[in-house]
Symmetry: C3
Subunit: 219 residues, 3 copies
């Protein structure tokens, strides 16, 4: 648990964590600009996108106060991201692909950190996969709900996002089961999530969808 705690809190892993938070915050602040929100709206959307998933994870685990409220860096990074987007949203908004690539890195880091922390707190394997996935996608879902939009990750036709997170969290749980979990396994799982997400964006992979309810036209 020391290793995992360290990876989450005070180590080289923290820089990665803060990088993931920064990118998620940028995506929240950019959506706020698109929705014609003011500076407050940008801050709220940046903060909830970046920290929402981790706060839910920590509340579920009873790890209170959540890490977002114990380390000031976690709150200051969304402020910084908002400042950057405030002055540079036009070029950032045109950056499309680079933003998505950073976001894919955040996705990988968050699902791995979430699943590892869930295991460290004694959750079972199925629960750790679920909580890792919630950690990774929860912030984006909350962002879209606050912006009064249907969460992007839920819509048919949306490119693979939760599925790489599920796979990454499953890898963490499997590695832990065989006593192989450590920094290399964590990096490998996060890298795989990243690669899958980037490939999905490149090739337009989408999740299966139910057959459209064509028969409703009979009603």
């Amino acid at each position: 648990m020391g290793g995992i705690g360290a990876a989450v809190n005070h180590s080289p892993g923290e820089a990665l964590d803060l990088a993931g938070i920064f990118v998620f915050a940028v995506s929240g602040a950019l959506l706020a600009v698109r929705k014609d929100f003011d500076l407050v709206g940008m801050l709220v959307l940046a903060g909830i996108t970046a920290l929402g998933g981790g706060v839910v994870r920590d509340l579920v685990l009873g790890a209170v106060p959540p890490v977002a409220f114990t380390d000031p860096g976690y709150l200051l990074v969304p402020v910084l991201a908002t400042a950057v987007v405030f002055v540079a949203h036009a070029p950032l908004g045109r950056l499309g692909t680079p933003i998505l690539v950073f976001d894919a890195a955040g996705l990988g880091l968050f699902c791995v950190a979430g699943a590892a922390k869930a295991l460290a707190y004694g959750l079972g394997p199925v629960q750790a996969v679920a909580l890792g996935t919630i950690t990774a996608i929860g912030g984006g879902v909350a962002r879209d709900v606050l912006a009064n939009e249907v969460p992007a990750v839920l819509r048919a036709g949306s490119v693979f996002y939760a599925i790489p997170a599920v796979l990454g969290a499953t890898l963490v749980v499997t590695a832990q089961h065989f006593h192989l979990y450590g920094s290399p396994a964590a990096a490998g799982a996060a890298g795989l999530v990243f690669a899958l997400r980037v490939l999905a964006l490149r090739f337009g992979w989408t999740a299966p969808r139910p057959r459209p309810p064509a028969d409703t036209t009979d009603d």
Copy 2:
């Protein structure tokens, strides 16, 4: 408390609990199909409808990790419900009434279990009624919020849903006050909620609404 804990966790009561979760999950997955969500959207909506109310209850009580994250059955049932809806949403969607009848059973089970657990954790009677009702209706509210719809339970003209839950939770609290709470009282309260909801559906009973703001037409 043993009896209540048992009813919530590892007993014949658990089968009922899982049945309620299954039906709530089906309602979430069916809404996802109607909203043109993909498999991920179906899973998320199924999970939050079935487990959202109970997770909020457990977080409020400090019963962490919430039971949804300690017993893998609680997570697997929404997965199963999603699989069933994925292949059979057309006939299920036509099932209208049977689904609503099962949902009424879930409503009764959840408000009773929620109020009983609140009392077992030392909450007062008013608080237990509130938390039992939140347990029963919270998942459906979260489902509608994620689907970017006004929660059905809040709208004028919607048939009695929260009110039977309030009554059921009140019965639990009253029985407890007179030291009469146990399996028969729990079953009776859940049965009454079920019956009230089914009758409300049959006869179109709706909650009172404020007089429409007719004077706004003057503006």
Copy 3:
């Protein structure tokens, strides 16, 4: 900590707290009327507006059950507010300014109480400012989300609301740092938030907004 606990729980401060809850609950119930909700929808919106911010604060601090579930007054005040709005929403709705003035008082009380409680639980200064602000604006954000509207506090053009709360929480943290925090400082900070919000309403002060994405017209 005794003083703060007392101010939050059982003291003259409690009357102010309940007054803030009442006004927030009225704003929730009034929105429910405007959205054509029934009595259940009014109660839910009143309750979440009045208590949502404080419940989130207490969950984050690990102060469970949240004060909203330990003191029955906290639940009964929204019921009372709903009853008042149910019969008198037409004149109340025309009251525009008085309601906003009371709401400004609630804003001041909530951000101060939230920041003080966060400090009492050992949170750092940045975190206490964030949590105080969340306490003050969280209920209103949840109200708008449940009503399927874009949260008012996030929109460009909305009058100063979160910014006075941030300033009030910052004053609490500063006073605490210099060992000057107590009832006078709390009253002063809440009064300043109140005054700023009322002045903002009077003079139409709005938060900065990013330059509109004019270049999107090129797309």
